[in-house]
């Protein structure tokens, strides 16, 4: 087994004080290995988004640690944390968050340019990523010239351009119809199969099913985790019965 790329260790996150005190995460531990996609499910208010934010360094745990690629986020200075986020991880949101005045290639290149890479080099890297994901035909299109599914695929390319090996996706299919949502998840799955570690928050069981593991949260605690894969052929040989 490879070394986990993401290690969330005994993380608790508390919001507010006294009467307004809310425990959003309660001693949550989770590891994600390279090539692994982990889905997080749970009812509203169960702590899914908080877990994603803490894993991505957008929020700090009240106690416990998060490490990405061996770097413990809590021990980094704010500037170094920002740099790590720019270089090592990418985010995918429900509403795509592409810049309307930039083409797909320019949107994908943007994180690299913000990180100090020269524009030409960044565009080259962006086109390489788009090519890897069979999205070259979209490279010169603006967001309003693309469908929702196409925009989300470009957003995944942006999240993974350059050397980023950790993608965090918060309801990435929430604004898409079922079929298009599955197409987007297929792209995400393929990226993980190429060695990327992925954390996917979703409330749709059929979308979580694209992950290797599903972690179920309730009241900030992990109450359920799907284990190792069954032999799918055996599943059907038994008549597909449940």
């Amino acid at each position: 087994m490879s070394t986990p790329h993401v290690v969330i260790s005994d993380v608790t996150r508390v919001h507010g004080h006294d009467e307004t005190r809310v425990v959003a995460l309660d001693h949550v531990s989770l590891e994600i290995h390279p090539g692994e996609l982990v889905a997080v499910m749970g009812p509203s208010g169960s702590g899914k988004s908080t877990l994603l934010n803490v894993a991505g360094g957008l929020d700090a745990p009240t106690s416990g640690t998060v490490s990405i690629g061996g770097e413990t986020l809590g021990s980094l200075a704010p500037r170094d944390l920002a740099k790590l986020r720019r270089r090592r991880m990418g985010f995918v949101f429900q509403d795509y968050n592409l810049i309307p005045s930039l083409t797909a290639a320019e949107n994908v290149a943007l994180p690299l340019e913000l990180d100090g890479m020269r524009a030409r080099q960044a565009r080259r890297a962006a086109r390489h990523t788009l090519d890897l994901m069979d999205l070259m035909s979209l490279s010169d299109r603006y967001p309003d010239q693309m469908s929702g599914g196409q925009q989300q695929r470009v957003a995944i390319a942006r999240a993974l351009v350059g050397s980023r090996r950790f993608v965090l996706a918060d309801e990435p299919t929430g604004a898409l119809d079922s079929h298009t949502g599955e197409e987007v998840l297929r792209v995400l799955r393929e990226r993980c199969d190429e060695g990327v570690a992925g954390l996917l928050v979703t409330h749709e069981a059929r979308h979580a099913a694209w992950a290797d593991r599903v972690v179920f949260l309730r009241d900030g605690r992990v109450v359920d985790t799907t284990g190792a894969a069954d032999d799918a052929e055996d599943l059907l040989a038994s008549g597909g019965s449940r």
């Binding site: 499910m41 009812p43 297929r186 799955r189 749709e204 069981a205 059929r206 979580a208 099913a209 694209w210 992950a211 290797d212 599903v214 179920f216 309730r218 009241d219 605690r221 109450v223 359920d224 985790t225 799907t226 284990g227 894969a229 069954d230 032999d231 799918a232 599943l235 059907l236 040989a237 008549g239 597909g240 449940r242």
Partner: protein, 221 residues
Amino acid sequence: MSVRLGLMALLAEGDSYGARLRSDFEERTGGTWPLNVGQVYTTLERLVRDGLVEQTGEADAEGRIAYRLTTAGHTELGTWWTTPVDRTNTPRDELTIKLALAVTAPGVDVHRVVQSQRTSTLRQLRDLTRLKRDALDRAEGTAEGARDAEHGLAWLLVLENLVFAAEAEVRWLDHVESVLARHARDRQARDHRSTPVDGTAADPEHDHAGTAPAAREGTPA
């Protein structure tokens, strides 16, 4: 649906014999309904008896007897295609019965029942999704003939059916949990209202059938 109508549907595509009908049936239904060859021959005999199928002739050199659909068989099959499947019978699903009993049985942790079922169903959903993904990859990656492509489509639809069923079960389990949580909150509020200021016990009538509420509905792990 019966095996009988499945075999008739295959025979409507062309004459065939028992072993081939069996393998075609399994292939077309993605192996979700395994048949044994004895079951196929027994069914064929009944179809012949009912005048829906007939032998095309004597056994060939390998001892195989081919069958074909009769005109009456074609008519019955046509009726089947256009008649909706009857879903009005009360379902006798084990999970439904199990949870219906669990919510009222004393000492059963319903949350645990729900969680273990959800884990199992989510795993099944994931494994089905892998099969579906493989099927999609195969369909896109090969230059299959039209017939193979149609069989691939049939297989994909069978998988989708299982995916939808598993997904619906997970949604229902989530619904069960939220209903139980709401019920527990309502009862707590009722108990709180009925508890006298001096802290003596609430009216026992509010404790359903004398069972312990915490044990009945369980507490999150």
